[in-house]
């Protein structure tokens, strides 16, 4: 239904295609509230107020940079996509100014709070028939932090994925990747294309938009996709945030005055029956 049904076969049969035509790359970008800025809850207490300042999700910026570098090395095309209200066009403009070739904007206020699975469904619907060789996105968003949208998109498209990527090298048959694991350990994997990768911040050094780039961005194509265009592909079951709140300070200290053995018992009793942590 989406993308290629047997990516591995296609990749194996036709490796030359990538060298000749270059890579067709998609970068999924999200606009998130500016880091470190004071945030306030909305009146219903279901999310933050929309009058925050917004910026490109940081790992997505690294994903874009990586896509641009791959294109510079191997040729091809970089498209960027976002799902969000009109204000989210800012992150697309920025990406176009840095060198992306075209943009797709799923534009509707409802995209702002859409859950990861449905965002992935909407993105998949919006790029149907595009057949990207590589899709990259940040490993997670700075606001929801679910780290789900990328991998769900891969699943829907029926292409393999890998997460927390800090190195990409194109090979004759696909990709050689470096993944960041815990505690300074890395994993190296080989992967066929098409594929989806979620990118870790710091994989590269971000470039600046240039004056020429900003000027050229004006004439680059920006395709808009409406809610109605993708609504049919969304699940009827959507996640919704019921309540968001700032945790109150509840620090209380209880002092247990007893001989050591008795005190230990009381501590265990507390942890078991009141705090429910053991």
């Amino acid at each position: 239904m989406f993308g290629r049904t047997s990516p591995g076969v296609l990749c194996g049969l036709d490796p030359v295609r990538y060298t000749l035509a270059g890579m067709k790359i998609l970068v999924c970008i999200k606009q998130v509230p500016q880091k470190d800025a004071p945030l306030r809850l909305n009146e219903k207490g279901t999310w933050i107020r929309d009058d925050a300042s917004w910026e490109t999700n940081e790992p997505d910026a690294y994903a874009l940079e990586e896509a641009l570098r791959q294109k510079e090395k191997h040729g091809g095309e970089v498209a960027v996509v976002t799902a969000g209200p009109a204000r989210a066009a800012q992150v697309l403009r920025e990406a176009l100014a840095k060198g992306a070739d075209r943009a797709i904007h799923l534009e509707d206020d409802r995209f702002a709070q859409l859950d990861a699975a449905n965002t992935a469904r909407a993105l998949a619907a919006a790029i149907e028939g595009e057949n990207f060789d590589l899709i990259v996105t940040g490993l997670q968003s700075d606001d929801f932090g679910a780290a789900q949208t990328g991998v769900l998109l891969a699943e829907i498209l029926g292409i393999p994925h890998a997460t927390i990527i800090i190195g990409i090298e194109k090979t004759d048959t696909g990709l050689r990747l470096k993944r960041e694991l815990e505690a300074g350990h890395y994993q190296y994997i080989e992967m066929p294309m098409p594929a989806l990768l979620t990118i870790q911040s710091g994989i590269n050094k971000l470039r600046y938009a240039t004056l020429i780039g900003i000027r050229q961005a004006k004439t680059k194509p920006l395709r808009k996709v409406s809610w109605a265009d993708v609504e049919g592909r969304l699940s009827k079951h959507m996640q919704r945030i019921e309540r968001l709140y700032v945790p109150g300070s509840q620090k209380t200290t209880r002092r247990i005055e007893a001989p050591a053995a008795e005190a230990a018992k009381q501590v265990v009793d507390y942890l078991k029956n009141e705090a429910h942590v053991v």
Binding site: D51, K205, Y208
Partner: protein, 577 residues
């Protein structure tokens, strides 16, 4: 060892040809760009065979998004806007029409309402606005009109034709933008992007108060008359959410007096943006005598006065900002044109100190400059002679009418408040004149007194000197406030507050003035710390805190601090302010 920002040498810089470069995307720059677009559209409609292109018109703005470095109360007198966009009321982001106004004099514990609102402070017909949203909207208009606003680009220095320094003979040939991707030692990083050399027929400086390129221009061409030097105020502002019922939407209150004493110039504003949101701020004249005066502290003390406390208590501070404003008035406006350059808005000093308003004047100055620039585009002549038409247009416009009659206003308050009020009453009836000649005006930092002359603080000024500590509810220390300004700079870049001689700080200033940079900076940028090895103290510059207010550049008594733009995109984020 602090490494200061300077343009990199021996760099192959990209060159770009331009017709008109507008440096600064505030009300002046945006109004200029929009008017220029309108004139070109009109021309192209009338002359389809010989259309003019807007491609060569560039607006540079150092903030990441338009309007993020703009700060004002703000009240908008819509006069200029109405001329520019007659239908503005349908779509401009105007928060409230002014419904109610009052002026108060505060003593330490008391408050006295002026029986009448002095005519200049009558604000009916004006609007309470967020200047940030307003400028964002103007930027959108400019973009829709086909002119590109390049955000994240600062003008770092002017380009000159040659070594000539005469105002009539020197020629500005364009502007260099900021170098990006320079590390804190001044070395290019792997993503280094050298600043562009934009070669422009006309360079229009609309950088706001104490623009860095405007300052280069004014110094190089000796444009400032020392007897009519520009003087400045430092505005400190917070946005507060308050319980409803305390102030009406569109209500405007001004105060004079406490916490400043009668020797110092300044006053407060409170504007009702909505029933539950207010803009509150205090302007302190940057011509005070006591080097320990802290304008941020003055504002915090004002909030503790019952007059303000009653409004704020139980509310919550949500945003903070600080910015200087020029209020020397008409007589301090330097030459505003020359070969290839024009000076607009607050960079020139188009602000009415009596009405505390400058947005409409900034916009009008931009619109008139656009008309001259348009004619220069047609004729290809951007010489001082051609651009002098702009000065003539300003003289023939309501800008001069409005500013001429208040030309002596701020100067009247130079000695004290009472004298100022008497003089301004005389000026009110004499259309701006004094009983004698027009007043002179020396630079504000010259009034700062050395510590040994000023002696220990007297009790009446403890609320204005030294840094405010803040109670965390009603009042705040500077770092808490800076956090609410959304300020951000890449840390790995050279220090953009260029101190020409650090020895003066420790060897002279510490003894003579007690390092007033620790007090006039509203963002806690300057700190005196123990020197390495314990040999006395040294200056630390926390430049990433800088809110781009320019107070240090203005008020430093030795004039050795040079504010230059940091990497474009850095600075405060005044979204919604």
């Amino acid at each position: 060892m602090i490494h200061f920002r300077e343009p990199l040498e021996n760099v192959d810089r990209p060159q770009m040809e331009a017709g008109v470069v507008i440096v600064g995307g505030g009300p002046a720059g945006m109004a200029c760009a929009l008017r220029l677009a309108q004139l070109i559209d009109e021309h192209n409609a009338a002359h389809p065979d010989a259309p003019l292109s807007k491609e060569g018109i560039l607006v540079l703005e150092k903030s990441r998004e338009p309007g993020q470095h703009c700060l004002s109360g703000a009240l908008l007198d819509p006069r200029a806007l109405r001329e520019l966009l007659p239908d503005f009321e349908k779509e401009a982001p105007l928060d409230a029409k002014v419904t109610k106004e009052s002026v108060w004099f505060l003593t330490e514990k008391g408050q006295h309402r002026f029986p009448i609102v002095p005519p200049p402070l009558r604000d009916h017909g004006n609007y309470v606005i967020s200047i940030n949203k307003f400028v964002q909207w103007l930027a959108q208009k400019v973009e829709e009109a086909g002119i590109t606003v390049f955000t994240g680009f600062a003008g770092s220095e002017l380009l000159w034709a040659d070594g000539r320094r005469g105002p009539e003979t020197a020629r500005v040939t364009g502007i260099r933008t900021d170098d990006k991707g320079v590390d804190k030692e001044g070395r290019p990083k792997s993503n280094f992007e050298p600043g562009y050399d934009l070669r422009a027929k006309i360079t229009i400086l609309a950088e706001g108060t104490r623009g860095n390129c405007a300052r280069q221009l004014i110094q190089r061409l000796s444009l400032e008359d020392p007897n009519h030097a520009q003087t400045y105020g430092q505005g400190i502002k917070e946005l507060w959410e308050i319980p409803s019922g305390r102030i009406a939407k569109g209500e405007v209150r001004y105060t004079l007096g406490y916490p400043l004493n009668s020797r110092e110039y300044g006053g407060s504003w409170i504007y009702g943006i909505s029933d539950t949101l207010i803009s509150i701020g205090y302007v302190t004249g940057l011509d005070y005598q006591d080097p320990r005066t802290d304008p941020h502290h003055v504002f915090q003390s004002f909030k503790e006065h019952p007059f303000a406390r009653r409004i704020l208590e139980g509310g919550r501070m949500i945003r903070y900002g600080a910015k200087s404003l020029p209020y020397g008035g008409w007589l301090t406006i330097p030459r505003i044109y020359g070969n290839g350059w024009m000076l607009l808005g607050d960079s020139a000093g188009f602000l009415n100190a009596q009405r505390l308003k400058g947005i409409h004047l900034a916009m009008k100055s931009g619109m008139l400059a656009a008309e001259t620039a348009f004619r220069a585009m047609l004729s290809g002549d951007s010489s001082a002679a051609a651009l002098s038409a702009w000065k003539t247009a300003v003289n023939d416009s309501w800008i001069r009418d409005e500013l001429w009659r208040v030309r002596n206003f701020h100067q009247a308050f130079e000695h004290n408040l009472l004298e100022g009020m008497i003089s301004s009453a005389i000026q009110q009836v004499s259309r701006g004149g004094n009983l004698g000649p027009d007043s002179g005006n020396r630079a504000g930092h010259l009034r700062m007194q050395p510590l040994d002359l000023i002696g220990p603080p007297d009790l009446s000024s403890t609320q204005t000197i030294g840094n405010a500590r803040g109670d965390g509810q009603l009042t705040f220390d500077r770092l808490t406030d800076v956090f609410h300004s959304g300020t951000r700079h890449d840390e790995d870049q050279p220090c953009h507050l260029v101190v020409q001689d650090l020895n003066i700080c420790t060897q002279r200033c510490t003894h003579e003035y007690g390092n007033p940079c620790r007090y006039f900076c509203p963002a806690a940028v300057y700190e005196m710390i123990e020197a390495e090895g314990g040999a006395g103290s040294e200056l630390r510059i926390n430049f990433t805190n800088c809110v781009h207010c320019k107070a240090c550049d203005i008020m430093d008594p030795y004039q050795i601090i040079n504010w230059v733009p940091p990497e474009g995109g850095g600075g405060p984020n005044y979204d919604g302010m």
